[in-house]
């Protein structure tokens, strides 16, 4: 059996995804209990400056895997580099964020190295020698605990914003190993033609700490400015229900729900959203849920922490003002 609890440290243009620190923090106790080193494995191009970012969250060792071909994420390049390192170093466990990249890279690697893989986990713990993961199934209608059997390497992807990142301890240090992987042009079969980023300064829904969403009760695209104003006051990202997206009021990328994005913010404010089970599947693990809806029978009132039974058009603007006042204090 190998040794080493690895955390794939996802980064983009030198910005490390928060989920990396959440996983490192949670994995520290597991590494201690198993007596194995906790290693951050960071892939990218020109990432030498990231070497000292992981020790404060508990990493014993950092692999900086640097190559031209890792500048933009492609499954082929990242899988080649990571699998070569895995063959060489033989970890026991590999953890990644269940992000767009993590959910694409993990099954590729798991299939190549013939490892067990559990996706989108919300809890990780040790039971005896083995890791136990808890994850939602049926869009969150139920939860399962999953263990590994007959696998050399255990792999899992962890849902962002669920585990808690520890307070960074700047006094800690880690061994940094620079790795130059072998990746040839033939290894990479997918060619990126164009990247189109929308609203560069907005935090993606899946990483947002606060989300304000508008649903069918918004009655039209032209009414969303009040939601945007509330979001601005809170430093939040704007989301939408399927009804709003299907009506063409908001882009598909704003959709929260079973067939949209799964989010786990600290605060989710649902405006004019009835709270159908498919919407709840996308935001049910939010820490605090607020519902604003004039229909007192709306299912969401049975699934929220705070409810305001009133017309959202009369509640949201004053709420925005109150928030601004509080923040100014």
């Amino acid at each position: 059996m190998g040794k080493g609890i690895w955390v794939f440290a996802e980064q983009e243009e030198g910005n490390i995804r928060k989920v990396t620190f959440e996983i490192l923090s949670a994995a520290r106790a597991i590494a201690d209990a198993k007596g194995e080193p906790l290693c951050a494995v960071c892939l990218g191009k020109d990432i030498s400056a990231l070497g000292d970012k992981f020790a404060p969250y508990g990493a014993d060792k950092v692999y900086l895997v640097d190559h031209e071909a890792l500048g933009d994420y492609t499954t082929d390049a990242y899988a080649k580099a990571l699998c070569d390192l895995i063959s060489k170093e033989a970890p026991s466990t590999i953890l990644m964020g269940a992000t767009v990249i993590g959910k694409d890279l993990a099954p590729k690697v798991a299939a190549r190295i013939d490892a067990g893989l559990v996706s989108d986990c919300v809890e990780i713990k040790l039971d005896g020698d083995g890791i136990v993961l808890k994850r939602p199934i049926y869009a969150g209608k139920a939860y399962a605990e999953v263990t590994f059997q007959n696998t050399e390497i255990a792999m899992a992807s962890i849902r962002p914003n669920v585990l808690v990142a520890a307070e960074p301890d700047a006094s800690k240090s880690a061994d940094v190993e620079n790795v130059t992987p072998e990746i040839s042009a033939d290894d990479v079969r997918v060619n990126i033609v164009e990247t189109i980023k929308s609203a560069a300064d907005k935090v993606d829904l899946t990483e947002a700490e606060i989300i304000v969403s508008g649903g069918r009760g918004m009655k039209g695209a032209e009414n969303y400015p009040i939601i945007e104003a509330l979001a601005d006051a809170l430093g939040a990202t704007v989301g939408a229900s399927r009804a709003a997206v299907d009506s063409g009021w908001r882009p598909v990328s704003d959709q929260v729900g079973q067939t949209g994005k799964v989010v786990a913010p600290n605060l989710y404010i649902a405006c004019g959203i009835s709270g159908a089970i498919q919407h709840y599947a996308g935001m049910g693990t939010s820490k605090v849920i607020v519902a604003i809806n004039k229909d007192e029978e709306a299912p969401i009132f049975g699934k929220c922490d705070y409810g305001v039974v009133d017309d959202l058009f009369k509640v949201v603007p004053p709420l925005t003002e109150e928030i601004k006042k509080l923040k100014a204090e």
Binding site: D76, T99, V100, K103, D104, P107, K108, A110, A111, R112, G116, L117, S119, P136, I137, Y138, A139, G140, K141, A142, Y143, A144, E145, V146, F148, Q149, N150, T151, R189, V190, N191, I192, V193, E194, T195, I196, K197, S198, A199, A200, D204, T206, I210, S253, T259, N266, I277, V288, V290, A291, D305, Y306, V308, D310, K314, L319, E321, E322, I323, L326
Partner: protein
């Protein structure tokens, strides 16, 4: 334009499930084609229609009841189907499932595109499509919202964090379908009638040269158990107030002082 579509039959999203520690009860539940797989069926048909010719084959691993979902795919317009229905596969996890599907596909030739949904809406693992591509040695694109085929390549739009990406990959390749790829057609009555005569071939793992010990619950590397219902939320506090403005103020105060989230 020949395509293979992997399809899973799953409980309907509205289904009431019985959650017991040993497992999830689905008796009496309505079953459907997993919605993301349905986008795959539709896209295979669209690409065949655009090319003017081709064959769409459905592939499904699952028990006897899956025939209904397979027939729906055939009724939508697919040409033939393979149903891997073998008790040895019961309890296979996603990785084990991908291996079985790969062995079936290795026996098929002359395909350009393989479609899978981004995830099945029961297990929500999202592994099969990508793992399948790896086992077949094929490139893949995940979270795809648009497919254009030209000159032996697929040019696809895919979702990334904060936006979209257009990538090109050689055929044959695997595509995992995301919402927005298309609007699946309803099976027409003539389609339903024709589907009854289309070939639906049962497959056993022995036909694929797979050893029972390497598949099913025992052959999988992960094991799910101790199922539970989601933790109940404490009862909602309905904010009181004489006016919307009062309620707004009370809510803001509660969020700051009580919930401490702002």
């Amino acid at each position: 334009m020949n395509s293979i579509v992997c399809l899973k039959q799953v409980p309907d999203t509205e289904a009431q499930l019985k959650v017991k520690s040993e497992g999830i009860g689905t008796d009496g539940v309505k079953f459907i084609i997993s919605p993301y797989d349905e986008y795959g069926v539709e896209e295979a048909l669209v690409q065949k229609e655009k090319a003017g010719a081709g064959e769409v084959s459905i592939l499904c691993l699952g028990p006897d009841r899956c025939v209904e979902a397979i027939r729906t795919g055939l009724a939508m317009g697919a040409d033939k189907a393979f149903h891997i229905d073998d008790p040895a596969c019961d309890g296979s996890d996603a990785m084990a499932t991908a291996k079985v599907l790969a062995e079936q596909i290795k026996k098929m030739d002359d395909y350009d595109l393989i479609f899978c949904g981004k995830q099945a809406i029961d297990d929500d693992q999202g592994q099969v499509g990508v793992a399948l591509a790896e086992h077949l040695g094929l490139p893949h694109a995940s979270l795809v919202t648009k497919v254009e085929v030209a000159d032996g390549k697929a040019k696809v739009n895919r979702q990334i964090v904060g936006g979209e990406q257009i990538v090109e990959l050689p055929l044959p390749c695997v595509i995992t379908a995301q919402k927005g790829l298309n609007e699946p057609r309803y099976a027409s009555l003539p389609g339903i009638m024709k589907a009854k005569k289309k070939p639906l071939s049962p497959v056993k793992i022995a036909d694929l040269g797979i050893d029972a010990a390497t598949t099913g619950a025992a052959g999988s590397k992960t094991k799910a158990g101790n199922f539970s219902s989601p933790p109940a939320r404490t009862e909602a506090k309905i904010i009181a107030g004489e006016s919307p403005e009062e309620k707004a103020a009370a809510l803001a105060k509660a969020l700051r002082e009580e919930a401490k989230v702002i």
